[in-house]
Symmetry: C2
Subunit: 125 residues, 2 copies
């Protein structure tokens, strides 16, 4: 599986897509967007920090474990760091696979795991 | 819920995104791509036909039913018709919602239902 992991302080741009084979039947993308209300309080944005070396290692382990459960051809993960205003994306994940079930399961479980043990933190500045 | 349904004979272009509110936290997109091998046979593409008036009515019913189960703010559905070469998308669905679980469930179930009873057919030309 092709794994690409990027952290960027800039607005996330959806990357160009290169199909790794003619056997890709499903492309699924997720963007996590900063909302105005967080637990009942209005925000103008959130501040994200990542401990990138460890985050990268944990994400690579997650993706390898998930690929064994839900075989996929490629995953592209981008997390924005620093200040992210309301309405902009802090997270982008694209998964390519032969069939949609694999891509959707891989995507959903990778987001669940991201929230659990990847060293990325958000705070109201 | 904002519902947009398009059929096009042209390559699908990912439409510009307009967040309907600052309460959107999740954007999920799916593209169904024509694969080279279909049931063990190599293809150069597939030919899609839709009975558009009925397809539109059935899709609107699906989306209304799914929105009652998984509240979402917007769905944008695009299906390409005519000849679609291998490696290009025949289907695009974008779902916007406050939380990712709603958007992912809405998306997965809308694709499942599309395969069941929407009058869109594909054939090897």
């Amino acid at each position: 599986m092709q794994v690409t992991i990027d952290f960027t302080p800039d607005p996330i741009l959806v990357p160009a897509e290169h199909l790794p084979s003619w056997e890709i039947g499903a492309a699924v993308e997720f963007r996590g967007i900063v909302r105005e209300m967080e637990q009942g309080n209005p925000l103008s944005g959130l501040f994200y920090e990542a401990y990138e070396p460890m985050a990268r290692r944990v994400l690579e382990r997650h993706f390898a474990e998930l690929a064994a459960l839900h075989p996929c051809a490629a995953v592209h993960f981008i997390h924005r760091t620093g200040w992210v205003p309301v309405g902009e994306a802090s997270l982008f994940i694209r998964v390519l696979s032969a069939h949609r079930g694999q891509a959707l399961s891989f995507l959903a479980e990778s987001i669940d795991r991201l929230k659990q043990d990847v060293p990325i933190w958000k705070r109201v500045q």
